[in-house]
C-alpha cells in the first residue's frame, strides 16, 4: 500500500489510542467473537497478555454457568440485530478471580451493511459493585434489625401518615399484622377523642416544623383495647431538605403507667391516712376537754351541794359521772387505736419473754381464777414490741375474762413457722362465741355482752386486728359456744 507518512502517523495514533487506554478493555472481535486485538486496559482488567489471548473467543471471560447458558452468544446475537448490546455481570480473570464487568458490544459493518466484527468495551466496576453490594446488605441488615425489634414499634410513614412498613414490635404492641395495616393511616391507632382534637395531624405538623414530635398518651390496639404509649415521630428529609416522610417509634408504657398510677394512689392514700389520724387525734383530744370539765364539775357539785340532794339526785349524778368516765375511756381507746404503730420501730421480739411479762401483769387475776396457762415453745420474731405485747395482753386477758363460770380457765399459747410466716394460736376453754359474731368481734366498739356481765369498751380486739395488720398478718377466731375459743393470728416477718 502506498501511504503518505501523514496517514501512517494518523493510523498509528488511532491504533495506539486504543492500545494505550488503561481504564477500559477495548477489543476487536471477529464476526464469531474471536479476539483480534488487545489493549493495555484489557491486560490490566483481565490479566492476559495479548499473545495469550488473541485468537481465543471472548467466551473465555465468562463464568462457566454463563457460558453454559449461552450468554456470550446471546449478546453477540443481540448486537448483530440491534447494532449493540450491553450487559453487566461477573466475569473471570486469567487467574480465576472474578470482576464485575460492564460491557458494550458494538457491531461493525462493511459498506454493504454486513457484519464483519464487533468492538467490545469493558469496564471493571468491581469496586462500585462491591460498594453497592455492601450498601444493599447493610440496608438489608438494617431492615431486618428493625423488623425483628420487639420492644418498639418502628415504622415509616409517608407525608400523609400512611404506614409503609411494620416490624415485630409494632405487631406485638398494636396487634395488627403487616398485611392488615400497611397502607392505612396511622390515625387508626388514636382514640376518638384524639382524632376529634386532630392530634395525629398536629403531631405530624410539629415533626415537620421542628424535626421531631413526642407524645405520651393512650392509643388503641386492633382489638380496641388501649395502651399507654410513648411516641417519637421524626421527619425524614431528602438531600434538598424537603420532608419526604416520617419515622415513628412507639413504646408501650402501659405497665409503667399502671405502676405510676398505683404509686400515686398509694401516696394519696397515705396523705389521707395521715389526715385521718390527725383528725382522730384532734377530735379525741378536743372531746376530752369538755368531758373532763363535766366530770370535774360533778365532783364540785357533790362536794358543795351533795348534802342537799335526795337519793334520786345523787343517783342521777352518779350516772352522769359514770357515763362521762366511759366516754372518756372510749375516746382514749379511739386515740390509742389511731396511734397504734405510729413512729414504731421494728425490733427483735422474744415472744416467750412477752408472754411471761403479760402473765406477770395478770398474776392477781390468774391467782384469783386459778387459771392455768400452758405456753409452747415460742419464737423470736421481728416486729413492733409495744404493739405485739398489747396484742398478747388483749388475747390472754380476754381468754381469762370470758371464762366459763365455775370452771378454771385453761389457756394454751403456741406458734408454728413456715418460711418466715408465723402462725400463733391462743386457745381457751371459755364461754365461746356464736359463729355469726366471729367477724364482728374485731370491729371497734363492737361488744357481744352486757356491760354488767363483762366490762369493756369493745376496743381490745379491734386493737389486735390493727396490730396484726401492722405485722402484715391476719387474725381470726374459731369457736363454738360453750366449747371455748381459739384465736389465730399470723405475722409475716419477711415483709416487715
Amino acid at each position: 500500500m502506498n501511504m503518505t507518512p501523514d496517514l501512517d502517523i494518523k493510523k498509528l495514533r488511532l491504533e495506539r489510542m486504543v492500545e494505550e487506554v488503561e481504564d477500559y478493555a477495548i477489543l476487536l472481535l471477529d464476526a464469531e467473537g474471536n479476539i483480534e486485538n488487545w489493549n493495555k486496559g484489557a491486560e490490566r482488567i483481565k490479566g492476559y497478555k495479548a499473545s495469550e489471548i488473541i485468537g481465543k473467543n471472548f467466551r473465555t471471560f465468562y463464568m462457566p454457568e454463563d457460558q453454559a447458558s449461552g450468554l456470550p452468544q446471546r449478546l453477540l446475537e443481540l448486537a448483530r440485530q440491534n447494532g449493540k448490546a450491553s450487559h453487566e455481570g461477573w466475569r473471570v480473570k486469567k487467574n480465576g478471580e472474578k470482576f464485575w464487568g460492564n460491557i458494550l458490544l458494538t457491531a461493525i459493518h462493511d459498506d454493504d451493511g454486513s457484519i464483519i466484527g464487533f468492538t467490545k468495551v469493558t469496564r471493571d466496576l468491581t469496586e462500585k459493585k462491591l460498594t453497592e453490594e455492601n450498601l444493599r446488605r447493610s440496608e438489608e441488615r438494617y431492615h431486618k434489625m428493625i423488623s425483628e425489634i420487639q420492644d418498639y414499634a418502628i415504622l415509616l410513614m409517608d407525608l400523609e401518615g400512611k404506614v409503609e412498613n411494620w416490624n415485630k414490635g409494632a405487631e406485638r404492641i398494636k396487634g395488627y399484622k403487616a398485611s392488615e395495616i400497611v397502607g392505612k393511616n396511622f390515625r387508626t391507632f388514636y382514640p376518638q377523642e384524639d382524632l376529634d382534637a386532630k392530634k395525629p395531624e398536629r403531631l405530624l405538623e410539629r415533626a415537620k416544623r421542628e424535626g421531631r414530635a413526642q407524645d405520651e398518651g393512650w392509643r388503641v390496639r386492633k382489638d380496641g383495647s388501649r395502651f399507654w404509649s410513648s411516641v417519637t415521630i421524626t421527619a425524614l428529609h431528602a438531600d434538598d431538605g424537603k420532608v419526604i416522610g416520617f419515622s415513628k417509634v412507639t413504646r408501650d408504657l402501659t405497665e409503667l403507667k399502671k405502676a405510676e398510677a398505683t404509686l400515686l394512689h398509694m401516696q394519696r392514700l397515705e396523705v389521707r391516712n395521715d389526715e385521718l389520724e390527725q383528725i382522730t387525734y384532734i377530735t379525741s383530744h378536743d372531746l376530752q376537754e369538755p368531758l373532763r370539765n363535766i366530770s370535774s364539775f360533778i365532783d364540785i357539785f357533790i362536794e358543795d351541794h351533795g348534802t342537799n340532794l335526795n337519793a334520786e339526785g345523787t343517783e342521777a349524778l352518779r350516772f352522769i359521772k359514770e357515763a362521762t368516765g366511759r366516754m372518756s375511756q372510749l375516746i382514749n381507746g379511739l386515740l390509742d387505736y389511731g396511734r397504734l404503730g405510729r413512729n414504731a420501730q421494728v425490733s427483735e421480739i422474744d415472744v416467750n419473754e412477752i408472754v411471761k411479762d403479760v402473765c406477770a401483769d395478770f398474776s392477781t387475776l390468774i391467782k384469783e381464777t386459778g387459771a392455768e396457762i400452758e405456753v409452747g415453745p415460742l419464737p423470736v420474731i421481728k416486729g413492733y414490741a409495744t404493739e405485739f405485747r398489747l396484742l398478747l395482753q388483749n388475747l390472754i386477758g380476754n381468754a381469762i375474762k370470758f371464762r366459763t363460770p365455775d370452771e378454771k380457765p385453761h389457756i394454751r399459747i403456741s406458734a408454728e413457722e413456715t418460711d418466715g410466716q408465723y402462725k400463733f394460736c391462743v386457745k381457751d376453754n371459755g364461754i365461746g362465741i356464736e359463729p355469726q359474731y366471729l367477724d364482728r368481734i374485731f370491729l371497734i366498739f363492737q361488744r357481744l355482752h352486757n356491760r354488767q356481765h363483762f366490762a369493756g369498751n369493745g376496743i381490745g380486739l379491734a386493737h389486735c386486728k390493727r396490730i396484726v395488720e401492722l405485722h402484715h398478718g391476719k387474725i381470726w377466731a374459731v369457736s363454738e359456744p360453750g366449747k371455748g375459743s381459739t384465736f389465730y393470728f399470723t405475722i409475716n416477718t419477711n415483709s416487715l
Binding site: Y281, H285, Q288, E289, P290, R292, N293, S296, F297, I300, N332, L335
Partner: protein, 141 residues
C-alpha cells in the same frame, strides 16, 4: 391562808373558762395566799409579765411564781408564748417556773416540751390539790 416564799403569783394560761374556774378553785381550796391571774392566750400572759406590774399590785414586774400553760389556744398558743418568753430578761424570769398543763396525752407534745429548758414539767389536766402541792414543793424556792 399560807403565804409561800417565792410564790408571788400563779399565772393560769388557758382559753377555757371552765378550766380556769376549776383551777382557781383548786388554788383557793389549797389555802395559798398568792396573786392568781388568768390569761386567755399567750398574748395576755405576756402582757401580764411585761406591763410593769400593774396587774399584781406590787408595782414591779412579776418575777417569782408559777405559770400553768395550756398548749392549744386561739391566737398565740403555748409554743408561741414560750418563744416570746425566752426574750424576757433573765433577771426577771430566773425565779419563774413554767409547767405545761394540758389535756394532751400525745407523747409527741410531751417530747417537744421536754426539749424546751423553760418548761419545768408536764402536768395532765385536771389540776388537783395534790398536783398543785407537788408542783410548789418541787419548783418553788
Amino acid at each position: 391562808m399560807r403565804k409561800i416564799n417565792g410564790l408571788d403569783f400563779i399565772l393560769l394560761v388557758d382559753d377555757d373558762e371552765a378550766t380556769n374556774y376549776l383551777n382557781q378553785r383548786v388554788i383557793r381550796k389549797a389555802n395559798i395566799l398568792t396573786n392568781v391571774h388568768v390569761a386567755h392566750d399567750g398574748k395576755e400572759a405576756l402582757d401580764y409579765l411585761t406591763n410593769g406590774g400593774r396587774n399584781n399590785g406590787t408595782g414591779s414586774v412579776p418575777h417569782a411564781g408559777l405559770i400553768f400553760l395550756d398548749i392549744n389556744m386561739p391566737g398565740m398558743n403555748g409554743w408561741e408564748f414560750l418563744e416570746a418568753y425566752k426574750q424576757l430578761p433573765d433577771e426577771q424570769t430566773r425565779r419563774i417556773k413554767i409547767l405545761m398543763l394540758t389535756t394532751s396525752n400525745n407523747p409527741d407534745e410531751e417530747k417537744r416540751a421536754v426539749n424546751i429548758p423553760e418548761v419545768k414539767g408536764f402536768i395532765h389536766k385536771p389540776l388537783t390539790e395534790e398536783k398543785l402541792e407537788k408542783a410548789i414543793n418541787v419548783y418553788v424556792f
